[in-house]
Symmetry: C2
Subunit: 338 residues, 2 copies
């Protein structure tokens, strides 16, 4: 049996998450029962939502249990199978967590999915052609539902969700404006991801300055907004919304550390007759096939070229995750395990 | 020509509205041109939205112009007509403003509507079977879209919108909880309007206390909320929402005086996957016939017995309006002019 290195949540953060919240342990992988599959993880996905689950607070998901392997998406290869639909060598994505191997009960629908790596690299199934891509697709197509010519804005534009959002929105004839941190990311967002403009939030550290930057980048106002961040950027965007704008709320990364993040002027929701809708993409599995087909085609045709930040080795995961929360990654944050 | 007493907006409020913002003047009603109708107003409607229009701020409606007659809904009788569809003696509702008479260009669609006062008193066409009633209907039916058994909450429950909302929601098999100011209003809301419970916000002057009161009144949580007020009550309601709750935003009366009313924890929109939607009922004229038919039937059958606060004489309008903004009215606030 292979030795499996695993990262557990050892204790919950008070305020900012710390490397000391995690603990690296190892164990032998157990023998398989009927219906089970042993997967060797090639890549682990690191995502902002994980920070929320580290808190012991009421939320849409159960908190990450203490002393258990950190939960998260994984992509890898079947190395042993006692399920007839999976064979050794199959490339698969699942929810194996922060560890080198996982034993999956493949009789559970949705627990493991075979993927085709002919045109799409395996790692992209954790990003543009995976949960982050479908997240962008759902917020854009099902909540914002844009018309050609409308102006859309997204925060964390250089990230996994943002880059997919840009390609999907351009394919629908929209003007797309990104918000990202730093000149390098903004250049990538416009030059490689095809956004029409990108605002560097580091140059606009308060709502008033951001609102002026948005006015310049969105001369016709904002019709749709994909919220990944919260805080003063949300306030600034609201101040530039057109009547009947739609806002997809997907993350409030600026608030994960516990401090409340108030919204300064919610009466704009009334004044501009906005629709603001929160969503969790895992509750909308019915859209995944359609979304993944479009995302796979965009990646396959080169219209969506997602960038990845790849940390090497499981022991690098905590620091890579903390860097992601501070925006130090550039594109989809992964950990490579082989 | 009759002498017409009129109330103008003389100057804009800084902070709270004051009686000195208004000015009473008089003039002769002009001679009619072809297509025009002269209406003698029996009732003027006073509504919270008017406070918003007194500010010179960007909003969904043009600000009320300075030096012009205060705009607002009216119900009255045709006393002279040069339009073939209107005859002397017709009972009509329109948007005649704060004055005793109005000259209406009846060739403009929607400018004047004949009403039947056989089963519904004329004044109710400014309340339960008028704009406030349709406002309740739209928020309930088109945004909250409740299922039988769900729990709904509305602020200003004893008012014109609230009373209609209660009857419409009970007709759909919902549990309806009102929020109102004072024991008398709460008793009316439960005993006469048929709400299942009513919370006196004066007994719960902060979000924490209100949240506990809501927990008791809504043991299964809140599935729909009709927002008339804003401020700490909105915060408290958000803290009790169930997953996928819907919030219709119709007013932010607590914020009309200019102070921003922040929302303490907008991340609940994400955590509970809420839909928050602002609306203005005048932008949805297509629903008015269906809504008015249901509201008229509820009033005609006695299932909806709206209460009215009636001030006498046009000179009483400013004080009655200021009282409305402070919740001193009980039910629909009107001014009787005859």
């Amino acid at each position: 049996m292979p030795i499996n290195q695993q990262i557990l949540l050892d204790n919950r953060p008070t305020g900012e998450a710390q490397a000391s919240n995690f603990k690296l342990v190892q164990s032998e992988t157990p023998a398989l029962s009927d219906g089970q599959v042993l997967v060797r993880h090639h890549f682990m996905s690191l995502d902002p939502y994980m920070r929320g689950r580290m808190n012991d607070a009421k939320s849409y998901a159960q908190p990450q249990p203490l002393g258990a392997v950190m939960q998260g998406g994984t992509a890898g290869e079947v190395i042993e199978s006692r399920h007839p639909k999976f064979s050794v060598g199959d490339k698969v994505v699942g929810f194996g967590g922060w560890q080198q191997y996982s034993v999956v009960d493949a009789t559970q629908p949705g627990s493991l999915k075979k993927v085709d790596t002919t045109h799409v690299p395996l790692s992209h199934y954790l990003g543009a052609v995976g949960m982050p891509g479908v997240t962008a697709w759902y917020g854009l197509v099902k909540i914002i539902a844009p018309k050609a010519g409308e102006t859309l804005v997204i925060t964390a534009a250089s990230g996994a969700v943002g880059s997919a959002f840009g390609a999907l929105a351009k394919a629908r004839g929209c003007r797309v404006v990104g918000i990202a941190g730093g000149a390098d990311k903004c250049k990538y967002v416009t030059d490689e991801l095809g956004f029409d403009a990108c605002i560097d939030y580091r140059q606009h550290p308060d709502a008033k300055s951001m609102s002026l930057a948005l006015k310049e980048a969105c001369p016709k106002g904002i019709d749709g907004y994909f919220e990944n961040v919260g805080g003063y950027i949300f306030d600034a965007v609201l101040s530039r919304t057109n009547a009947f704008a739609r806002i997809a709320m997907c993350g409030m990364i600026a608030g994960y550390d516990g401090q409340p993040l108030p919204l300064a002027n919610p009466s704009l929701i009334l004044i501009n007759r906005l629709k603001v809708e929160g969503f969790i993409v895992s509750e909308h599995m019915e859209v995944w096939p359609e979304a993944l087909a479009e995302l796979g085609a965009l990646v396959g045709s080169g219209k969506l070229r997602p960038r990845e930040s790849v940390a090497q080795g499981i022991e690098a995961a905590p620091e890579a995750f903390l860097g992601l929360l501070k925006g130090r990654n550039f594109g989809k944050q992964l950990v490579k395990l082989i």
